[in-house]
């Protein structure tokens, strides 16, 4: 099935999260409000707007079983939203609950734990707040993971055992922490990451191979493997019991988001505007191709094959020569087609998430990005990559 493309807005989609049955999606359009959309024909229409934050929302997560939404924002706050009947009208509305994060910088990323009794908020305050519910006061309280984080935390991911947490940070490292909260968690059984796990135990610390910020982290479905993507255009897969780390260098621009599709597959995307597929096992990992078959992508579908810097150079040369000799400006007018990328997403993809899971394997993923569109991809439709330089080519 070809990718389903929904152009949601002209502004970037900062984050997106679907509900359990995929009938609704919560997004933020680079503003302090989150919107809940549902499909109407081939369009998505706004059902409800969640406004409580003062500054731009950075991340959204929707818990599938308890049907609660958590939002994190640059205003250093997070809110948990729950559907409750309005005391006056009886109408069902989304009501926010306060979270006591105690951070002094922006919240950057948020994810519910698998059991949905905790969530983790990454922040620019060199800390991760692990939040659990305090019945007495009817709010969420946080316990902070601080050591040895040296810079902004950019992403987190929960281990399926509800205790371990992976975090990627701008201090060029990916780490695995214990986020064990005595009041909430049962004693976890030993994993490949360790057996004794009091709060803030560091179970693993891995550097990006060529010094890039770690943008994305993810545990495999079993939790026994960790993958992280960093700003040096590499993706690394860690087998802690090995101990083996496989680094894949990309010829393309850096990846900023990733999701596992099975124990042997990862879909990741970022500044190159198209999702890449990686496959492998304990014996080794490699790039398997892309989900964005550029021949079918884009509006006019005239895919442009392997490009070279030489072509780019002559393109730029022609632009300036036209401007000089003929007074033609390629901005606006005829030049508009020149700025269309051959990929489906027309700008950086900022989020890749699993959409459809069949027999434990992710068969569809959803992506959203700076171009304001939301795309659903079939993870089995992998095509080879043509052109080593990636999608940074203009048509």
């Amino acid at each position: 099935m070809p990718p389903q493309v929904y152009a949601l807005s002209q502004t970037p989609v900062t984050s997106h999260a679907f509900n359990a049955d995929r009938s609704q999606v919560c997004i933020s359009l680079n503003s302090n409000e989150a919107q809940i959309l549902s499909p109407k024909g081939s369009e998505w229409v706004v059902n409800e707007t969640l406004s409580e934050h003062d500054k731009v929302i950075t991340s959204i997560d929707w818990a599938p079983n308890s049907n609660r939404i958590v939002t994190a924002s640059q205003d250093r706050n997070a809110y948990v939203w729950q559907e409750t009947p309005d005391p006056e009208t009886g109408k069902i509305i989304w009501k926010p609950t306060l979270v006591l994060l105690r951070i002094n910088r922006a919240a950057t990323y948020v994810r519910w734990s698998p059991k949905e009794d905790k969530f983790a908020v990454a922040s620019g305050a060199r800390a991760i707040a692990i939040c659990s519910f305090d019945e007495e006061n009817n709010w969420w309280v946080a316990k902070q993971l601080k050591k040895p984080i040296r810079s902004t935390v950019l992403s987190v991911d929960w281990h399926p055992n509800n205790v371990l947490l992976a975090a990627g940070s701008a201090d060029l490292k990916a780490r695995v922490f214990s986020a064990y909260i005595k009041e909430v968690d049962e004693r976890p059984s030993p994993t490949v990451w360790g057996s004794k796990l009091p709060f803030n135990t560091i179970c693993g610390e891995y550097s990006s191979p060529s010094g890039g910020w770690v943008h994305a982290v993810g545990f495999s479905p079993s939790g026994d493997i960790l993958a992280f993507a960093s700003h040096d255009s590499t993706i690394s897969i860690v087998y802690p019991s090995g101990p083996a780390v496989y680094n894949i260098r990309l010829p393309a621009l850096p990846l900023v988001s990733l999701t596992w599709t099975s124990e042997n597959g990862i879909v990741a995307a970022g500044h190159d505007c198209r999702p890449f597929v990686f496959s492998g096992s304990e014996q080794g990992w490699q790039e398997a191709g892309t989900l964005d078959d550029s021949k079918s992508g884009g509006a006019s579908g005239s895919g442009f094959g392997a490009g070279t810097p030489g072509r780019l150079k002559s393109g730029a040369f022609a632009t300036f020569r036209d401007a000089d000799v003929r007074g033609q400006s390629s901005i606006g007018g005829a030049g508009q087609t020149d700025t269309k990328l051959t990929t489906i997403h027309q700008n950086t993809i900022t989020s890749v998430r699993p959409y459809e899971i069949v027999n434990g394997e992710v068969t569809k993923v959803s992506t959203s990005g700076v171009d304001g569109s939301l795309v659903l991809w079939d993870t089995n439709e992998v095509s080879a990559i043509t052109g080593r330089l990636g999608a940074t080519h203009l048509r």
Partner: protein, 156 residues
């Protein structure tokens, strides 16, 4: 508007400031050892060049290239050695040579190309030679190689 406040070093007021040295693992070798190695490599490169084995010479000079602090002399020597190889390669051979390099060596080569472009007029740097290599290297290793040059703190 007064913009001088932008030049205040605010890090000095931060007790928990992140230092440059924490960003990468320092070279375990002693600076004098690194310099000695660079000299040996220069000799080995000359031998390879005499046999007109460009690919061999490049792999020698790009392996364990000096990085970090206190090894300026070794860095300069390595850059000089590298330039002698780049300048003596025929432009038709470049692509083949680059393809024979390991991905590590390709990344290191890109670092040196940028270093060279940052030092116009130094030694026998020729801008057109560096740009020629840059174009060919980008074709083989992709823009990812340039990204790694920008992010890597192990500066050559």
């Amino acid at each position: 508007m007064d913009v001088n406040f932008r030049k205040i070093d605010i890090d000095q007021f931060d007790e928990d400031v992140l230092h440059e040295s924490e960003l990468y693992e320092a070279d375990p070798r002693d600076p004098s050892e690194v310099l000695e190695e660079a000299k040996q490599r220069q000799a080995a490169v000359r031998t390879s060049l005499a046999r007109s084995d460009i690919a061999g010479a490049l792999s020698i000079v790009l392996e364990n290239a000096p990085y970090g602090l206190n090894v300026e002399e070794a860095k300069n020597l390595t850059l000089q050695t590298l330039l002698s190889i780049l300048n003596s390669t025929k432009s038709t051979e470049i692509t083949g040579v680059i393809k024979s390099l390991s991905p590590d060596a390709q990344d290191t080569l890109m670092k040196y190309l940028y270093k060279g472009m940052g030092l116009p007029g130094w030694g026998d740097i020729s801008g057109s030679v560096l740009l020629g290599w840059h174009e060919k290297l980008t074709e083989v290793a992709g823009v990812g190689c340039i990204v790694r040059t920008m992010t890597d703190r192990r500066i050559v």
